[in-house]
């Protein structure tokens, strides 16, 4: 018998929601020791399904029909008290956001032991010992110390492990993981995925794993179901769905994934658009009357060049200093040392006033399409403020703005709207149009596609590629996603802890990495094996 079998589940949304049902007529089953991946784009109802199983639906959202059999009981219809007894003991769940999923004011050990307390198991001392064992089991270093630590003293990966320890405390039969690795960087993600696979093997739990990342699916799934707008559109053995998708939607999702396939190499560029020489930036935090100063060497003696018409990818794990480098290049951040030469003049040495006049040469496309547009300013204003300050007559700036909006595929009438009237992908394009409006020599794109869904991501990448051809643009493309970098870039630079560890053409980096660190990065990309296989 299956550990869990869901039959014809429908979950109704409150009035005024984007659709009537979050989930409609969904059926599937998970066997003991099996990992079922639930994939689908944002809003497809993955989380709602999981929440319904846990009895944690938000107010207003209700199960309309169907049942979910677990240990031969319909857990959707149990009285609240029994659901409560089930939660944490028989069914456990881990969440996407490790930073906020733990109570900031409670020690890790206490939070783990609380699971026992909630179900009235064991004595005080036993709870503590068991918590310690769990911490050890999920591979957290120095368990004695960890259980006395507060969440803020742990890194994201460590917190996610603590969450998993909690979920495993009472050896549940079913583990539901709702995008548990999305917020983590690739190396940490790989570790967590490995941990889950390990635990499944050792304990034989059934796992329902929610993700929108097919790389992850390829890494761990036994079975896959694909959801779209509340319905299951495809199901099957993981390997089969990935290689031979039946449903059109699945196929589109898979196509949109940047593959490891490398574009043909282009000739190296000779004329430099941006030269960075010995750049250094140290952040000092804290400090005050009695406080010691803490220093972070965000960029440590980095030199590199971006040629005219070249796309240079800048990769590295989180916190390695990529953004700082990018922001220093446009001098949103003033460097502590070194030079930033744009068309020969040193931006780093200019005064505030002179700098304003030079600003237009380098522009930036920001990571967060929501945050980078002023919510109270119409698009036209956002696109013309800069050119007008630069001295372009108003009418001309407006005409150019409309033209640019057409180029990025939005249509001129977008100019009179406010940012909140656009989707994320559309806003990202507005951001690009805004950068182009200044007629820059160089664009810094900081994680410009990271926040986007795969399909939209693909569109934006196409647009960038196109622009590079049309305007001879130089781009410094910052990303933590090596696959994306491979798609677009001519050369790739790898950063680690503020230092540039390796730089080379895409082919060099991917096929013949020189540094151990680069190799680790490449290996950590989820589904790396599968992607390579796909490319072959």
């Amino acid at each position: 018998m299956s550990t869990l079998s869901i039959e014809h589940l429908s979950i109704g949304l409150p009035q005024g929601a984007d659709r009537a049902f979050a989930v409609e007529d969904v059926s599937f089953a998970i066997e003991k020791g099996e990992i079922l991946c639930v994939v689908g784009e944002s809003g497809s109802g993955k989380s709602m399904t999981a929440n319904a199983l846990m009895g944690l639906l938000p107010p207003g959202v209700t199960v309309k029909s169907g049942r979910a059999l677990f240990e031969s009981r319909d857990i959707l219809r149990l009285p609240e008290a029994e659901k409560q007894a089930l939660r944490g003991a028989r069914i456990a769940m881990i969440f996407q956001e490790p930073m906020t999923a733990l109570n900031p004011l409670m020690r890790i050990g206490e939070q783990i032991a609380e699971v026992f307390a909630a179900h009235d198991r064991f004595s005080q001392q036993e709870r503590r010992d068991k918590a310690l064992n769990l911490v050890r089991e999920v591979g957290l270093p120095d368990p004695e110390k960890i259980i006395r630590a507060y969440p803020f003293q742990l890194s994201g990966g460590q917190r996610q492990r603590a969450m998993i320890a909690m979920a495993l405390a009472l050896e549940p039969k079913l583990l539901i993981a709702d995008e548990p690795t999305t917020a983590l960087d690739v190396t940490t993600q790989a570790q967590i995925l490995k941990l889950i696979l390990d635990l499944r093997d050792r304990r034989g739990m059934a796992v329902m794993f929610i993700t929108h990342d097919f790389g992850v699916v390829a890494e761990i799934a036994d079975q896959v179901i694909v959801m779209r707008e509340g319905r299951v559109v495809e199901r099957g053995i993981a390997a089969k769905v990935l290689t031979d998708p039946q449903h059109d939607y699945t196929r589109r999702l898979l196509d949109a994934i940047p593959t490891g396939k490398l574009p043909p190499a282009r000739a190296p560029r000779e004329v430099p658009a941006l030269e960075i020489k010995g750049l250094r930036k140290v952040y000092r935090t804290g400090g005050g009357f009695f406080r010691p100063v803490r220093e972070v060497r965000a960029v440590d003696d980095v030199s590199l060049t971006v040629g005219r018409g070249e796309v240079l990818g800048l990769v590295g794990e989180s916190g390695s200093g990529k953004s700082t480098l990018g922001r220093t290049a446009v001098r949103l951040v003033t460097p502590d040392g070194g030079q930033v030469l744009v068309g020969g003049s040193d931006l780093a040495a200019l005064s505030e006033e002179e700098l304003r006049k030079q600003r237009h040469k380098v522009q930036m496309v920001f990571q967060d399409p929501y945050a980078s547009l002023n919510p109270r300013q119409r698009i036209m204003g956002a696109l013309t403020d800069g050119p007008i300050t630069k001295g372009v007559p108003k009418a001309q700036a407006q005409a150019r703005a409309k033209e640019l909006l057409e180029i990025v595929g939005l249509g001129a009438d977008a100019a009179s709207r406010f940012p909140h009237e656009f989707s994320g992908g559309q806003r990202q394009r507005i951001g690009i149009a805004r950068a182009l409006a200044m007629d820059p020599e160089l664009i810094i794109a900081d994680e410009a596609v990271s926040a986007l869904d795969v399909s939209i991501q693909a569109q934006v990448l196409d647009l960038l590629r196109d622009l590079r051809e049309r305007f001879e643009l130089s781009i410094l493309f910052i990303t933590h996603d090596l696959r994306v970098a491979a798609q677009l870039c001519d050369r790739i630079a790898v950063m680690k802890k503020g230092k540039l560890v390796e730089i080379g053409t895409v082919h060099d980096i991917f096929l013949n990495p020189q540094q151990e660190y680069t190799r680790q990065l490449l290996a950590a990309v989820p589904g790396a094996g599968w992607a390579k296989a796909g490319a072959a």
Binding site: G88, T100, N103, P104, G286
Partner: protein, 325 residues
Amino acid sequence: MSIVTVILSRAFKAFVTLLAIAVLNFCLLHAAPGDPAVVLAGEAGAADEQMIEQLRERFGLDQPFHVQLGKYVGSVLTLDLGYSFRQGAPVAQLIAERLPATLLLTLTAFVISLVLGIAFGVAASARVGKASDSLLTTLALLFYATPLYWAALMAVLIFSVWLGWLPGFGYETVGAGYTGLARAFDIAKHLVLPALTLGLFFMAVYMRMTRASMLEVSQLDFVKTAKAKGLSGPAIRRRHILRNAILPVVTLAGLQAGQLVGGAVLTETVFAWPGIGRLMFESLAARDYNTILGVFLVSAAMVILFNIVTDIVYRLVDPRIGAKA
């Protein structure tokens, strides 16, 4: 950074602030029309130039302004608050006589408002959307909108005049000769009305804040984690939500506890409570500069003290602060 260094650095800043307050107030008061010598002379029922000159000389008012200011700052630096010529006693002594009453009143009001406010706030948030929640929030809004002094007048009217349950004014039964417990009980009886009226407004503030904060925290991810563990609703509220929700309330409460000392003027007036708020108000009319300045300094010191206490409490409750640096 250890708590000791925090306190030290805060104490230093506090001292600077207090000095600045002394200077500002000194200038302010001396800008006021009205001359303490004239007032004192006027009160005597008759006055002539000779008398006023004498008084001015005694008060040091015959000296140039900057000399007076320098002297005052000098004495404040040595923790001497000066002498009240009107009351014929050192200011420190006058304040020391009145301060306990004010502290008793404000601290009681503070504790009442904090405890009740948080309790009602938690209760309301647990029943959010239900009738009892609406009732509590509406009541809180009403308390919030009611002028303190008006509530006080009405309370006296109802509870001491009509019903005769509680004394309507004063600090204790004068000359009853109570000692020990009997006296404490007597004072407690006198304390009920003023503390309640003073506390009512703040109770409303804390209640609304607690409720909002509880609701906000209950949306946070870790609450979902707690639910997923199988904890019961009350346990989640107590162990997880309340602990986090109470932090902003603590901050606000710390700010207000200090302000209560200076803000009790109205309550002290209506209830004839012999505290420093009234001392200040009465000294103001007489332009008894030293006393007003003294009261100001002491209540500002209270504000600072409470802020430091809040800081420490905060540090104890929230492990993140202090460890960050």
